[in-house]
């Protein structure tokens, strides 16, 4: 399935190619994007296919992944379905559950996406990471609280995770004596 351009022509083509870079330096070989336009497109599909055959014994070459993802009309799924999926993915990714996080003494607030975390432990770790710079030398005694739908200030961790994410309006990290007093043995 050889295309019209031979290997010798490719070298000649490269020699006259205009590009930025020091003479003698070559950019890394990139797999050619497979669109329906130029003849080299077919080459990369053939190369891709041959590469797959050669490597079928030794396992799949990861370099072929990029070209595969761009093969026109493959996998054979109707555009209507493909477009629906893209629309659905977009809305799912855009949704998120962003809430403000304030920390006592910090000059500004942050925002986090609660959907990114699977549970309380990850949330705590994420928050610790985010507010590391404000720890100071006072140590890390703090309590994570949240404001729920009714406007009440609640301690994070009492209710199941899903119930928490659906009712949490914003987070507040309380530090110092006030926090420790409230904690008791529940944590």
């Amino acid at each position: 399935m050889d295309g019209g351009v031979g290997y010798a022509d490719m070298d000649a083509l490269k020699a006259t190619e205009l590009r930025l870079g020091l003479p003698g330096s070559h950019p890394p070989e990139k797999p050619l994007p497979t669109t329906t336009t130029a003849r080299p497109t077919k080459r990369s599909l053939d190369d891709d296919r041959e590469a797959r055959r050669e490597t079928s014994e030794g396992g799949r070459a990861t370099s072929t992944r990029a070209t595969k993802a761009q093969v026109v009309g493959w996998p054979p799924i109707r555009s209507y379905r493909k477009n629906s999926f893209q629309a659905m993915k977009a809305t799912a990714e855009a949704a998120g559950l962003y809430v403000k996080v304030s920390m006592d003494g910090a000059p500004y607030l942050r925002k986090i996406d609660l959907e990114v975390y699977k549970g309380y432990r990850e949330l705590r770790e994420g928050l610790e990471d985010m507010f590391k710079c404000f720890e100071g030398c006072k140590g890390s005694e703090y309590a994570i609280t949240y404001e729920d739908k009714d406007g009440d200030l609640m301690l994070v961790g009492d209710v199941p995770w899903e119930m928490f994410t659906s009712s949490c309006k914003k987070l507040r990290i309380i530090r110092g004596a006030e926090a420790i007093r409230g904690l008791g043995s529940s944590q």
Binding site: M1, R52, Y80
Partner: protein
């Protein structure tokens, strides 16, 4: 038979329901041709360019139902350039002139303009049913014309069309006097519709049995609609997001319980797993379930749902059901006839969702399975051989291994033997799509055993011309052959040119056929249109006179009585 009066012959022909049978009897003698053509009510045109519209109307003046198909199948996968053709207008114009008694029109893969829909709406006083599948070119304005002018409309079925949204008012164009709707499907529309108008419409159409809503319809609206349509047999839900403790959700459950006739469910965009519980009460009656647009439902929730659906005959799901989920389908759905498993992760970068194991499980549990579309990450010969043994009744077998040219992962062999087993075992196989690593051998098997095969789809397969030759010389009933990215060239193309007049069409893209080969074919067979489709960008760069050695990127060959079409765009050359 010639000594029977014509009315008797006509009455006998009434018992012939298939187009093929009627076509055959019409060739027996002139008398039969005459009787048949005057009594034919349902006309099917598989390729809109095979015959001129006027000729069809002239031959069948009593036509009541017309079906026309336009673009080749591979247009579904963006392989046919946008303006290639397939226009509906000439057909509607010809019907308006020649068959004003037209009642039903079905169009697939055609370009339908608002102008055509307006003409349609005004030209046929008895018009009852419009079905558009995978069409494009129209807007909601065209739908408004249909709603306004088609008194007595029974069916408006829009399946997977690209429709431009020009506002929500089209639905309100159904007059208050419209009470005849039996089937309404606008699931593919992206825009909103007037919910109040919709609720009133379904309430007054007491014979409504099939309703498929689009994503813009909320659960609240759905609950109100269902309360008015308790006799619904087919339902496509709109967006299925609702807080499961909400009042609307409770009303929905209540409404579903009243719909004792519901047999088919689809839609479920945005459905949250918890909301699926609302349909558990209907599941035992379901024969058709389409969850292929619900990526939020993962395996475990799907399984919980499917355990209730023991009468299921047709199931469309996403591959997140997993092999384990398919095993549950196998044990629960003993009546299953058709299964489609679509990929949720199109570029295959995630974990393998379904493999050969799922298919083998299905085959062992669902002995009535006859139609399959299966997207998977891998397949083995052993699995295919088992499937072939378990399910000898396949009429449609379409397997798509997402990685083109992938061999059997256990043995590293091509999948020739597996597909060979399928064609040997399934004597009624009419449609087959191949994938995975395949050599010429699989085509040897197909040519030899697939006697009833009518449609064959080939991609990234074969080693040489021999493969295509086996198929052309072997499959006696082949009607449609579509090939992409396979090493078949002029020798194969020209080995049996007479074959193409017995077929509807041949598509070849990214193969080894040259311009010279196409010209030779066209020269030998004047009743074929040999279309060479150049990609738009390439045609600018192309030389004035490309040599005959030049490989043709896309070729579409079809038999025709109409000669070269006059609506071809400049990037299509008809030889």
């Amino acid at each position: 038979m010639t000594y029977f009066p014509e009315e008797v012959v006509e009455h006998i022909f009434d018992f012939l329901s298939s187009h093929r049978d009627r076509n055959i009897v019409s060739t027996v003698c002139k008398a039969w041709y005459r009787v048949e053509r005057l009594s034919r009510r349902i006309v099917f045109v598989g390729n809109c360019y095979a015959v001129r519209p006027g000729r069809v109307m002239a031959r069948f003046p009593g036509m009541k139902c017309l079906s026309v198909k336009g673009k080749p199948h591979f247009a579904d996968f963006n392989l046919v350039p946008h303006d290639w053709g397939g226009f509906a207008l000439p057909w509607i114009e010809a019907a308006a002139r020649g068959c004003p008694g037209l009642e039903e029109l079905r169009l697939k893969r055609m370009v339908v303009s608002d102008e055509s829909l307006e003409l349609l709406a005004r030209s046929f006083p008895n018009f009852k049913a419009l079905v558009l599948v995978s069409c494009e070119g129209f807007t909601t304005d065209g739908l408004a014309a249909i709603a306004t002018h088609c008194r007595g409309l029974r069916e408006l079925d829009l399946q997977e069309n690209e429709v431009e949204d020009h506002g929500r008012q089209w639905l309100s164009c159904f007059p208050d006097s419209c009470t005849s709707l039996e089937s309404l499907n606008f699931a593919c529309l992206k825009g909103e519709v007037n919910a109040g108008a919709l609720e009133r419409l379904v309430a007054r159409c007491v014979n409504l049995r099939s309703l498929k809503l689009n994503r813009a319809i909320s659960v609240e609206s759905l609950a109100r609609i269902l309360a008015r349509t308790p006799h619904l047999v087919e339902l496509g839900t709109g967006s299925f997001t609702v807080e499961h403790r909400a009042e609307a959700y409770q009303r929905l459950i209540h409404a579903f319980r009243k719909c004792k006739s519901l047999k088919s469910l689809s839609g479920f965009w945005d459905v949250a797993p918890r909301c699926l519980q609302s349909i558990y009460s209907i599941c035992p009656n379901l024969t058709v379930l389409n969850l292929s647009y619900a990526p939020a439902i993962q395996g475990a929730d799907l399984v919980k749902l499917i355990r209730h659906c023991f009468k299921l005959q047709k199931l469309w799901v996403l591959d997140c059901i997993g092999d384990k989920g398919l095993a549950v389908v196998a044990s629960t759905c003993q009546e299953l006839q058709e299964l489609r498993v679509f990929p949720s992760d199109i570029y295959g970068t995630g974990t393998a969702a379904v493999t050969e194991e799922g298919l083998v499980a299905i085959s062992s549990g669902c002995s009535k399975l006859n139609s399959l579309l299966y997207f998977c990450h891998q397949m083995t010969n052993a699995a295919l051989i088992t499937v072939a043994k378990n399910c000898p009744h396949f009429t449609r077998f379409r397997l798509c291994i997402l990685d083109p040219g992938k061999p059997d992962p256990d043995t590293n062999q091509p999948l020739d033997e597996g597909f060979g087993a399928i064609v040997r075992s399934c004597k009624d196989l009419r449609r087959l799509s191949l994938s995975g690593l395949l050599t010429d051998k699989v085509f040897l098997y197909i040519g030899e055993y697939a006697a009833r095969l009518e449609m064959l789809s080939i991609a990234f397969a074969g080693d040489s011309d021999k493969g295509m030759v086996y198929v052309l010389n072997g499959c006696k009933n082949l009607r449609k052959l579509e090939i992409r990215d396979s090493p078949f060239g002029d020798a194969a193309l020209l080995v049996n040119v007479g074959k193409y007049e017995t077929m509807r069409s041949l598509w070849m893209s990214s193969c080894d056929v040259t311009l010279g080969g196409c010209k030779a074919l066209a020269a030998k067979m004047p009743r074929l249109n040999v279309e060479v489709i150049n990609d738009r960008d390439e045609s600018d760069e192309m030389e004035e006179n490309p040599s005959d050695m030049h490989k043709v990127e896309k070729m579409y060959v079809y038999r025709t009585l109409a000669g070269a079409r006059n609506d071809a765009p400049e990037f299509v050359e008809i030889l």
